[in-house]
Amino acid sequence: MKNKWILIVDDDEGLVSTFKGILEAEGYNVDVATTGRGALEKCEDTVFDLVILDFMLPDMRGDEVLRYLKKIHRGLKVLLITGYSTFKDSIDALSLGISEILLKPISPEELLRAAGEALS
């Protein structure tokens, strides 16, 4: 678990920094991006094991970022987080290659469990 790399993508900086702290405390290597474009650039440089992706980004939509990410690394694990409660029902997570959709506000325990399951 020590050598797993996780990328957190969300435009809220407070949220990103707190998630980073939580995951790092569990021994993950964590990088962050606040835009879709930033996320894609990071993925080109580094091979991440898991991407935690917010659906609403200022420059791109989550599914767009997801498509590019899957193009770069087909087997990449992705957790999608969103604030829209109706969103979970309207997206076919499996077909998009998403491990799980999580609704904000997520309990950190839940996030850790989901990350653990995705990476196992």
């Binding site: 949220l15 702290g21 791109m60 506000p105 997520i106």
Partner: protein, 590 residues
């Protein structure tokens, strides 16, 4: 044309045709009948004249026979005694017997004695030589072989036509031998004609055989012809043949056309009385028609017209009687009744429809309000979740690493502040339907929005700003959000790059802002609902952005429209007022 006038025309033309027919038939049948009658009457007159003439000739012949079969005459031819002449052939004899000529021939055809007498001057005249030419030996007049032979007839002499009789001279008992021939002649002159006219009461004339109607008369059988002279007079002609059987003279009888005039009078009276009767009958028919049908029809028509003018189907027409017209009125009434019923039904339907529309409108308004409320709550819920997530994360970390409390509490404080701003915004959104308008430099606002957009490198942006944009009444923060929304949409519509063009211009009392991209465009079927909440075409998008834009622009007193062609690009156009009434005055014109 009114039905009364039509009837008048029909009856008038019927009378006209009837009169014309009557005139023609009466003229041809009645008048021709009268003409025929007239001709027959004239023929009878001609025959009467011929009979009178014949009687005159018979008398002459009878006198001749009387004298020729007489012993005195028989002896006179032999002895030529003077006594016979003195006692018999005196002037008185000529006058009494209306004789003009007496000639005595012996059997050899030699004139023994002859005397001619002029009645007018009462004197003896010479025997006309033209007559003697007919009396040569063995001529027709001097060649009787039997005592009962004789010739009588007409000879046309240049002096005058002559009625002539020739008889053989015998003894009184009629026995022969024939000693000679006795010739008696009577001129058919004006005097004799006058006498014949008196006897027959006819107007008679004698014409020479050179008259123009001779050929026609020769054709006729019997040789009588009738020809009207004019409207007053008609003439009957008859051919008289001489003793040789040749056409000698033409006898004419002129008569007044009394029968024809009577015929004319009859026809005129007939036509006049028929016309008068026709006119009377027409007037009666018209009066009766008018009273029984026409006036009732026009009354009915007037009533229906009144009802139509008033547009009130509850009215009824009133026609008395028990016939087709009253039945028509009854049908009109029942139609009016049905019309009234159906109008009532339509009125009820339209009323219930109106109520239904009102109810549906109320429901729609309610639904719109609910949707708006839902839209706002969805936006707030979404926006609040990020700071909540931060707080939750911070609390989690704080529990595990209390030594980092200071920075974590600062994070929590920031998140609470963020949430408070969101709620404040919501509060303002809900409370203020009108934005807080302040004179804003719109050009600067747009420029800043573009600068902070950070579009990908594949997208080139351009900005065109006109004059007069520095004092536009705007709620700067809300309008900035509108611009951000539209600009973000344009960027998202061009994943493979393109051109983003923003322009703003003052035009009259309005400011027009255009945001154009060369992206994928919006499907036509999505255009109608584009500005409605939750109507996004983007997968995962909620479609709240454009609804917000529309609401905000309209709150500024403006409007937003879209023009999009799939595959070519989209242009959003915002038009807002340039001046805010009463608070921001337009700058003074130089």
């Amino acid at each position: 044309m009114k039905i009364y006038n039509k009837t008048l025309i029909i009856i008038g033309s019927t009378i006209f045709i009837f009169s014309s027919f009557l005139f023609l038939t009466s003229h041809f049948i009645i008048l021709f009948g009268f003409q025929d009658l007239e001709e027959r009457a004239v023929r009878r007159s001609v025959e009467q004249a011929l009979r009178a003439l014949s009687t005159s000739l018979e008398e002459l012949d009878a006198t001749n026979l009387d004298w020729a079969s007489w012993d005195d005459t028989y002896n006179f031819i032999e002895d030529k005694n003077r006594d016979y002449i003195d006692s018999n052939l005196v002037d008185g004899t000529f006058i009494n017997l209306r004789l003009n000529i007496i000639l005595y021939y012996d059997s050899a055809g030699k004139l023994v004695f002859g005397k001619a007498f002029d009645h007018e001057n009462c004197m003896e005249v010479s025997i006309p030589s033209s007559l003697l030419e007919h009396l040569t030996p063995n001529s027709l007049l001097l060649s009787h072989s039997e005592p009962w032979d004789g010739v009588k007839g007409l000879i046309n002499l240049p002096e005058a036509p002559l009625l002539i009789s020739s008889r053989p001279i015998t003894r009184s008992d009629g026995s022969g031998p024939i000693r000679g021939f006795l010739i008696m002649g009577r001129y058919l002159n004006a005097e004799e004609l006058r006498r014949l006219a008196e006897v027959t009461n006819l107007k008679l004339e004698i014409k020479g055989p050179e008259a123009s109607m001779l050929p026609a008369l020769l054709e006729a059988d019997p040789e009588i012809m009738v020809q009207p002279l004019d409207d007053r007079l008609t003439v009957g002609y008859s051919l008289l043949r001489d003793i040789y059987g040749k056409p000698g003279l033409i006898l004419t009888v002129t008569e007044h056309r009394e029968i024809y005039a009577q015929g004319l009078r009859t026809v005129s009276f007939f036509i006049a009385s028929s016309l008068a009767t026709g006119l009377l009958v027409s007037i009666m028919i018209l009066k009766l028609l008018d009273r029984m049908i026409l006036s009732r029809l026009s009354h009915l028509s007037q009533e229906v017209e009144n009802i139509e003018k008033l547009g009130d189907p509850s009215l009824r027409v009133q026609v008395s009687g028990e016939d087709e017209i009253s039945s028509l009125a009854g049908r009109v009434n029942s139609m009016l009744e049905r019309l009234e019923l159906s109008q009532e039904t339509i009125r009820r339907y339209s009323q219930s429809l109106e109520e239904l529309v009102e109810e549906k409108t109320r429901e729609l308004i309610r639904a719109e309000r609910m949707a708006a409320a839902g839209e706002v709550s969805a936006m707030v819920a979404h926006d609040l979740k990020s700071p909540l997530q931060t707080i939750r994360n911070a609390v989690y970390t704080l529990r595990r690493r209390p030594e980092e409390s200071e920075s974590l509490l600062k994070l929590i404080d920031g998140a609470v502040e963020q949430a408070a701003t969101i709620l404040e915004d919501l509060h303002r959104d809900i409370k203020e339907t009108r934005p807080g308008l302040e004179a804003t430099d719109l050009g600067a606002l747009i420029r800043r929005a573009l600068e902070e957009l950070h579009p990908p490198q594949s997208i080139s942006t351009s900005l065109k700003l006109g004059e007069g944009l520095n004092q536009v009444p705007l709620d700067a923060s809300r309008f900035r959000r509108v611009l951000d929304n539209l600009l973000k949409n344009s960027i998202e519509a061009m994943p493979n790059g393109g051109d983003l063009t923003v322009s703003a211009d003052a035009s009259g009392d309005e400011v027009i802002i255009r945001i154009s991209d060369t992206g994928r465009g919006i499907p036509e079927e999505a255009l109608d609902n584009l500005f409605k909440p939750f109507s996004t075409t983007k997968p995962g998008g909620l479609g709240l952005g454009l609804a917000y834009c529309k609401r905000t622009v309209e709150a500024h007193g403006g409007r937003i429209t879209v023009d999009s062609r799939p595959g070519e690009g989209t242009t959003f156009t915002i038009t807002i007022p340039r001046w805010r009434p009463s608070t921001i005055e337009p700058p003074q014109q130089p």
